[in-house]
């Protein structure tokens, strides 16, 4: 059962959509329900020892999991397709913006910022296509971003925050360093962001 669980998790992770415990129970574990916690424990260990991946529960109420890379970063290229690289580039930029702006921003602000980078929500982008869809649907579904509607707004407005996957996969320290690198400044230039980044593990 353990190897089946491992395989199931690896395949499900392809789309980067969190895996539901219910799916796991229904499709793989089935009759071994009682041994669930033991199976999960062993599967986690396999994932860690063989693949260097960590199984993380991001929603303890709805019991959803993601796989996070647990290996220390090695200098060199991360192997993935160009499309994935570009999406991650856009995501990181947005996450940086959100963090530097106090962890919660209005969607209008995000779009205004992106426009400065020649990315327009209403227009097809040569790299990203339907950007609005990518940002508000795909990245949200993958739990990288979290959108919350602001009550009593017309037309409806939203706030953007880091999603649970972003919290697990990305550190604020690295984000600040990224911004500092791009702007050619020292991370301590932004004092409060710096102290917050230091405080977060």
């Amino acid at each position: 059962q353990v190897s089946e669980v491992v395989q199931f998790l690896l395949v499900k992770d392809q789309k980067k959509i969190p895996i539901k415990r219910a799916d796991l129970l229904k499709n793989v574990i089935r009759e071994y329900r009682d041994a669930y916690s033991e199976i999960i424990k062993r599967a986690s260990r396999t994932l860690q020892e063989v693949f260097g991946l960590k199984l993380v529960e991001i929603d303890s109420k709805r019991h959803t999991f993601i796989l996070v890379n647990n290996l220390p970063h090695v200098e060199g290229k991360y192997l993935c397709g160009d499309k994935e690289k570009e999406k991650m580039g856009l995501l990181y930029t947005i996450l940086s913006f959100i963090f530097m702006k106090g962890n919660s921003v209005k969607d209008i602000a995000v779009w205004e910022f992106l426009q400065m980078l020649h990315v327009y929500p209403g227009k097809q982008h040569s790299v990203f296509g339907d950007v609005r869809k990518l940002v508000t649907e795909e990245l949200v579904r993958q739990k990288y971003l979290e959108i919350t509607p602001i009550p009593v707004t017309d037309p409806p407005q939203f706030t953007f925050q880091w999603g649970p996957r972003a919290e697990k996969e990305i550190s604020k320290k690295d984000v600040l360093n990224f911004v500092a690198k791009v702007q050619g400044k020292d991370p301590t230039f932004w004092a409060s962001q710096y102290s917050e980044a230091q405080a977060t593990p």
Binding site: L67, E169, S171
Partner: protein, 261 residues
Amino acid sequence: ENREAMLSSKNNRLTEALEEANTLFDGVCRAREAALDAQFLVIASSIGKEKANELRSEMSAFDSAAFAEDLLTFMGINRMEETDDSEDGPGGFLPRDAWKKVGEEALKYIKRAPTFHYMLGSFKSEPPVPKQRIERQKKANRGKAERAMPAQLKKMEESYQEATEKEVERVLGILQTHFENDPNTPISFFDFVIDPNSFARTVENMFHVSFLIRDGLARIKLDEDELPVIEPTKPSAGGEEEIRTGARNQVIIKLDQQEWK
């Protein structure tokens, strides 16, 4: 519309706008205008709230415009004159790999699990189409094979049948020959069928004789001693009747090895 601009802590635009509204309100005499004024107040207060929020927020001021500019530089923007390409914003056009560059830098810090893909792919799309063809061919082949089979069987059966028929004819021939030599004297049934050397052959003989009886080509009667005798039937006018009569009588003869001996 100018919300963002008003929010900027660097100016007093909000205050200016409020003052302007105040002045305007003096000239208001219609309800519609009053309503507009009310709307403006709602928006103004919400902006005011946000500004207050920003003051409260402990984040050091972050100049997103400056960050954007620097990012563009990082991406390798070409700051020439505006091209005709409508996608490019003011300030130049971005190279093809602009976002890839950012992505590569970003991926250094994102603990993303590499996606797992089977090297050889899954068994999908292709097989179904040829499969159909193969199935059809198989069916065709099987049809032929089946046809070949029955043909073979038929042959076997025929030969089997032929063998039996031949045997029967042979037996009939022997019977008739006997009778020619000794007309009007039926032969003892047992003398006729029993093979002193082989029990199996005896049974076979009886088997063949039974065919003759069935077809009405021979007849078994009981003689004075109550022993069965056999004689070939003469093709007579009443032949059919006899056949029918013969068919109605059934005799079961039991012979086992001990008796035979």
